[in-house]
Symmetry: C2
Subunit: 202 residues, 2 copies
DNA sequence: ACCTGAACACCGTTCAAGT
DNA sequence: ACCTGAACACCGTTCAAGT
């Protein structure tokens, strides 16, 4: 297990992120990154053991863009800040964002974020034994929502359904007037409000 | 846009699913599927326009394994049945499961599932205007939870954290005794119970 | 310490052809 | 109607070598 150089790691990750943002995750090849950095593909292997580790590095880079931590705010405001920051990240880097849920990389900034969430839940009065579970509940929803949005799971579905009404979907028919939201900001806010009521019933 | 043959589509999708289950999503290549079906790679292109469409077909196949619909149950039981069925699917096909969140394919069985969820929410007394949003909230959480579980986001994180205690994660330190769950069945059940209280406060 | 070149074993897909 | 063979433009990665 050789030792890795670190000197140009940030530069390489920047190049990788730029490629993914501009041309999609599929275009993110070792060869493309190398070309952008101005180096031979093999030179990258001095900085990352393989492509998987480069992707882990990318996840770390993304999480570094978050981390608000504005103490002096209420616990609701702090939890909300994390949630909206994650969603913003998804919209800024839609093609890389799925890696946050797919790859299991534990980065310092990620841990820091979880710690802030723990603290907010403690301040909210959630019993210590429940805090980690509730944090996972919240983060799972937030990550899932952001992913659904950028992957098109939400919008694509509701668009598609309008075409094939009828047949055997009685509930869809009854809800015909309510199937077209398209204000995801408002929906996300409503969802967060509902979830806050799990944490502490108002 | 040529017309596709359908005759051997199910056979091809079975082969694809078997490969992914046995050797992972990365091993799922057109060439591997072709070999398993006993045919040249190019023969597949008579049944699916490209690999993406084959993956969409796979998503449809997975959703076909679900669809409980046991009327005569309470709305809680019906919603729970869907949630647990999705989670079971994730554990049976861990490497393909992420496609459900990543790919935006709208299949008949998927729509059917959503319709059942809508009906349960209506029966629960959720106002018509809120039903689609609450369904998205629930499905987002359930898919996200199942994905986090099979991708290792949950277990990996909690395992990792035990090593690097100390430093600057005060909340982690305070929660030291509660950071090791590992009974995900129980956690999923607790989460669903909390979410049901969003739908209808008891 | 850092990088290169050539090579290996793979990919998805097109095109023209065969029965 | 269904399938094949050869080819193209890609991949990630190893190995030996060069400064």
């Amino acid at each position: 297990m050789r030792k890795l150089k670190t000197s140009r790691q940030p530069e390489i990750l920047d190049a990788a992120l730029a490629i993914a943002d501009e041309r999609g995750l599929e275009a993110l090849s070792m060869r493309a990154v190398a070309e952008r950095v101005g180096v031979t593909p093999m030179a990258l292997y001095g900085y990352f053991r393989n492509k998987d580790e480069l992707l882990d590095g990318l996840v770390g880079r993304l999480l570094g863009e978050l981390v608000p931590d504005d103490p002096g705010q209420t616990w609701q405001e702090r939890l909300g800040a994390i949630a909206w920051a994650i969603r913003r990240l998804a919209r800024e880097h839609p093609t890389v964002f799925p890696l946050l849920l797919l790859r299991t990389s534990v980065t310092p900034d990620g841990v820091k974020l979880v710690d802030l969430a723990y603290q907010a839940l403690l301040d909210a009065g959630v019993p210590e034994a429940d805090v980690p579970r509730v944090e996972r509940l919240m983060s799972t929803f937030v990550l899932g929502f952001a992913l659904s949005e950028v992957s098109g799971r939400f919008s694509h579905a509701s668009r598609e359904i309008r075409h094939r009404r009828g047949t055997d979907m009685p509930a869809h028919q009854r809800l015909a007037g309510h199937l077209t939201p398209d204000d995801w900001d408002a929906e996300f806010a409503d969802d967060l409000a509902d979830l806050m009521r799990i944490i502490r019933p108002v």
